[in-house]
């Protein structure tokens, strides 16, 4: 199974990763906003990252690449193992999650007609 860990783990909407503060750029930005006066509202760190040049571009490409790989796997019925792991760790921390291989086998069995389900792909 393709190792996706280099693309960053999980959906950022569900696992809010702390945006890396490159060279304290965000801190400098915050200080700048505060200097404008008490009424100024600063954007969040994630949003700042999106707006700042360089990092946002890479994040975007990374995100698209991840989606493409995820689509390629889902069209043959293989779900996102990283997402599953995150899910198990956050919601059922006491349970032991399936291994990568077992997860893959589960998806494989689930895709084809079996005693549990007829499955759903259009033959025509």
């Amino acid at each position: 199974m393709l190792d996706l860990s280099f693309l960053g783990r999980g959906d950022p909407a569900l696992v809010p990763a702390a945006a890396p503060d490159l060279n304290g750029a965000y801190a400098r930005y915050l200080a700048g906003v505060q200097a404008q006066g008490p009424g100024a509202v600063a954007m969040s760190a994630t949003e700042f990252e999106r707006y700042s040049l360089g990092t946002s571009w890479l994040t975007g490409v990374r995100e698209v690449a991840k989606r493409v790989v995820q689509t390629c796997r889902l069209v043959i019925g293989i779900h996102d193992y990283e997402y599953y792991l995150d899910h198990m760790r956050s919601r059922h921390p006491q349970a032991i999650p399936l291994t990568r291989e077992a997860f893959y086998r589960y998806c494989l069995e689930a895709r084809y007609p079996s005693a549990e389900r007829i499955g759903g792909r259009c033959p025509c």
Partner: protein
């Protein structure tokens, strides 16, 4: 204001494209106009009609939690990105159907088929997919049969089950027939397809034991081996021993397919089914995207007239007039009932927000429709003479290029025997005559388009066999998986009659169920291969009637749900396409059974053969009185099956009307949705 101008522009472009297609009679039209007409139709219907359905009719609400969120387990119910689910859903609905129907319908010219594909998808097909996805998502991703049982009563659930099984068997046989037609007496094609079996076994073992789950790696290995099989297939075909070994006749191929289907569906899925499925799915998506780009680059001329004289019903590819037969010949691409099973399968368990259903359900079907338009273009870039040579049955063409050219010239299309021989030589086949079924025509069309881009005929044979491999591969994958599905359906039905016989994991049950399934579709394929009119003429309408009947059933369910939701004033959204589908399938069904014209009516053809047999005469292509009797019997079975489809549709219509009346009398809303869970304000984004 800016957007208004933009949409006005889209409308103007669409109208101009349609004007070009309809008004320039006689001269070839560029395929660009067809693409433009289609894309503007899709854009307008998606932007306005699907929005109307989403917001006013369904009232999709992102504050409601979807089943994927409520039951999130990371395995089956997984909230997934909208575009990722779109890709998944598109890959699940798009099969061989949209590549076959439009090519057969091209005998009436490209325009009638195109108009039906576009109008049908906007008002019927996409609405059906969207509707079923919606009601299934609101019911925890239940299947069509379960929902029919829940909303219409238990016996309706059983009726839907039997209807689905019958349609499934007919689909499998029609598709298998397409493969047989493409591979008969074609050692190159047969070799490449046969080669996919050891390749798949190798991939399966590799993924199971050597490098578990390395899909990207194994798919690349499989793809390279497959391309090698195409390249060296030409040498194999010319080999003194292996050439004749892979030269199989129709009945031999049928037997091979039946044996293969049996073995493939009994073996564990990881060994054969899954690896072939990976290859065929990626190949399918690649070809669809590649062909779309190819058409845009090549912008070929459409040589087929916009309308031919065969709209009167005398066409050689399939018999029957434009109404109703065009509307059942093109099912997939305009409106496909089978999508109701897909849209109530895996997809609803992946939906992240209710509003995404508009893109996935409605938009996904527009995507399939575009595939159908591309198939129409592939058929229309061929010289009409070549098209008819490939698609008319031997009964009309004879078996030599001379008789074929003479017959086609008599229909008013110009073609020389030399041209037919030359095309066969270009694509590396012995003969291209009477290869009805879509795949070979699509392959030649695609080869012509690609050759046009590179401006060299050297690769034409490669591209032809690539296209044949691509289509045969995913048809065979559908046949494997379909046989497996049939087996469990058979066991299910047996379980209804005798509880305890249901889905069991016992080997005996498995073998019996599989035997029933393969012998059912195998019988129809064999019948098709030996049919005097080429088989497609009888099986494809049967499939069309069954598939459209399934769509009608799904839309009936949708109508009932709308009434139960107290949305009766919007019921026309499903009622209009449903009525049209029922009118066309019922008319077509009636004509297929009772038409006195033996080209059309099953019973008339059966009578013709049995009467001739009674007088002791043998009609071609039957060779003995015994075969005559078999042709008569086959056609009687077809008539009974058509009658059964009509009966199922009528029963369901009665049940639906009863349910609607009951819903109207009840002042409360009675749709049985899963109770709403609202998203917490904090997480609502």
């Amino acid at each position: 204001m800016k957007t208004k101008i933009l949409w006005l522009l889209v409308v103007v472009v669409g109208v101009a494209a349609f004007a070009m297609l309809t008004l320039s009679r006689g001269e070839p039209v560029n395929a660009a106009w067809l693409v433009l007409a289609a894309v503007s139709c899709y854009a307008i219907s998606y932007r306005f009609y699907s929005k109307f359905i989403a917001e006013r009719v369904f009232e999709l609400d992102d504050r409601r939690l979807t089943p994927a969120e409520r039951r999130n387990d990371g395995l089956d119910y997984v909230p997934t990105n909208k575009y990722v689910v779109f890709g998944h859903h598109f890959a699940a609905i798009a099969g061989a159907g949209p590549l076959v129907g439009p090519i057969l319908a091209a005998q009436m010219g490209f325009l009638p088929g195109t108009i039906w594909i576009l109008v049908g998808v906007m008002l019927a097909g996409a609405v059906q997919d969207f509707m079923v996805l919606f009601i299934s998502t609101r019911r925890d991703g239940r299947s069509l049969g379960e929902m029919a049982k829940q909303e219409l009563g238990p016996w309706v659930g059983v009726t839907v089950m039997i209807g689905t099984l019958a349609v499934m068997i007919i689909i499998l046989s029609a598709l298998a027939l397409v493969v047989v037609k493409a591979l008969a007496v074609s050692p190159w094609g047969t070799f490449t397809i046969a080669a996919t079996i050891p390749i798949a076994l190798l991939m399966g073992i590799y993924m199971r034991f050597i490098r578990p789950g390395r899909i990207a790696e194994v798919s690349v290995i499989g793809f390279v081996l497959m391309m090698a099989a195409i390249v060296y297939g030409g040498d194999i075909a010319a080999h003194p021993y292996w050439g004749p070994f892979f030269t199989l006749t129709g009945p031999e191929l049928t037997l091979a397919l039946v044996v293969y289907g049996f073995v493939a569906s009994v073996l564990p899925v990881w060994l054969l089914l899954a690896p072939r499925d990976y290859l065929s799915t990626f190949l399918k998506l690649g070809v669809v995207i590649g062909l779309a780009i190819g058409i845009l680059i090549a912008l070929p001329e459409l040589k087929m007239p916009s309308v031919t004289r065969f709209i009167d019903g005398s066409g050689p590819v399939f018999s029957g007039a434009l109404f109703p037969f065009l509307f059942i010949t093109i099912a997939c691409g305009a409106c496909s009932g089978f999508h109701a099973l897909v849209a109530s399968g895996t997809t609803p368990k992946l939906i992240e927000r209710e509003s995404h259903m508009r893109t996935i359900g409605y938009g996904g079907m527009l995507g399939e429709s575009l595939v159908a338009i591309m198939a129409m273009i592939c058929a229309s870039v061929l010289d009409p003479g070549v098209y008819f040579a490939m698609n008319a049955p031997a009964a009309l063409l004879g078996t030599t290029v001379q008789t074929a050219a003479a017959a086609i010239n008599s229909w008013g299309f110009v073609v020389t025997p030399e041209a037919l021989t030359q095309i066969a030589k270009d694509v590396g086949e012995q003969s291209i005559l009477s290869r009805a079924g879509g795949a070979p025509t699509f392959a030649v069309g695609m080869a012509v388009i690609v050759t046009d881009i590179f401006n060299s005929k050297a690769m034409m044979a490669f591209w032809y066999h690539f296209a044949i491999l691509f289509e045969a591969l995913f048809i065979l994958t559908a046949v494997d998986a379909g046989t497996r599905a049939c087996r469990f359906m058979v066991q299910d039905l047996a379980g209804v009659v005798v509880p305890g016989l249901g889905r069991s994991r016992s080997l005996i049950g498995n073998l019996i169920g599989t035997s029933v399934a393969v012998s059912a579709w195998g019988w129809f394929v064999y019948q098709g291969v030996t049919d005097p009119f080429g088989g497609i003429n009888s099986l494809w309408p049967l499939f069309g009637i069954g598939n459209q009947m399934l769509a009608g059933m799904a839309l009936m369910l949708g109508t009932v749900v709308l009434f139960k939701m107290k949305k009766g004033h919007f019921a026309w959204v499903t009622l209009v396409p449903m009525t049209w589908l029922l009118v066309t399938t019922m008319t077509a069904g009636w004509q297929k059974i009772f038409s006195p014209d033996w080209h059309i009516g099953f019973l008339a053809l059966a009578r013709r053969f049995s009467e001739a047999a009674a007088q002791g005469t043998v009609l071609a292509p039957a060779k003995s009185l015994e075969q005559m009797g078999r042709v008569a019997f086959n056609n009687q079975v077809d008539a009974v099956l058509t009658g059964f489809f009509m009966f199922v549709a009528i029963t369901l219509a009665v049940a639906a009307i009863a349910a609607v009346i009951k819903a109207l009398r009840n002042p409360e809303q009675t749709a049985q949705e899963t109770p709403v869970v609202w998203r917490e304000a904090a997480t609502y984004a």
